[in-house]
Symmetry: C2
Subunit: 173 residues, 2 copies
Amino acid sequence: MIVVLRLGHRLGRDARISTHVGLVARAFGADFLIISGEHDKKVIESITNVSDEWGGHFDTVYKKKWEQCISEYKKKGFSIIHLTMYGLPIQNKINEIRKKKNLLIVVGGQKVPGEVYKISDYNIAITNQPHSEVAALAVFLHEYFSGTELDRQWKDASKKIIPQKRGKQVINQ
Amino acid sequence: MIVVLRLGHRLGRDARISTHVGLVARAFGADFLIISGEHDKKVIESITNVSDEWGGHFDTVYKKKWEQCISEYKKKGFSIIHLTMYGLPIQNKINEIRKKKNLLIVVGGQKVPGEVYKISDYNIAITNQPHSEVAALAVFLHEYFSGTELDRQWKDASKKIIPQKRGKQVINQ
């Protein structure tokens, strides 16, 4: 099971980035999203709406206490993977991480508390350059699933795209 | 040469997403970013500042007329790659695209004009699910470069991260 924990969400300012984090978590094969920071019902609603329409039963919840959340998953035997530009290169660690079946992937916002680096089993960098937590999560999951997530079929979808060379085709089913 | 064209930027609302698009373009090996839509000096400045600090000579410019921009690159022999959830799956097309050395990668915003689908040589989907242009660009470049972009060394960087198992280490050089 793959759970994503988004830290430090701020109302308004982070709405779009956190929504993108959630949609990426879902589209690239994570099972579940936890948002911490400020409680933003709108963000949770828009990720849930996408999941309802496009299939796959992806749930999003809010938890205030991220420390407790990480500890609980750790106790359950999940490996804690913190994505950070300061961490070890993904290309050196992904083979080892692929062997773990239960992951809690922690995705930071602007300021990540020092405890997160300590409590995590792996601090992993998707390049050691500043870019985007959205991109870091996508490339991490893409590497973890070795690209197989791209071929996934989505159960109980009411909308489905038929890929086109040009233009758009969406089936409502 | 890999150029990224960000369409339809809106002042305020798109500032963070377009900044992430720019930083991802740079970090994952593109050479140059063009932003279209509304002129946002702040976004251009923050991407340029990152490039100045972290190395690699990545330039960002604003162009009002995206149609003209696409036509010009087409005339120069660039392949036009439009990233869209409605397009053909990347996993079926990337081997063909990897043979092209000059790409203009078009990344849409909320509403992409129909002409973009027509003028593009490839409409490419990074999953046919709704997620994020930031993630789509990152995974596209990661696939295009077959992961080699992760090992890139950055020339003339004044800041450099020494990857750590835990914590942060940055060298100012």
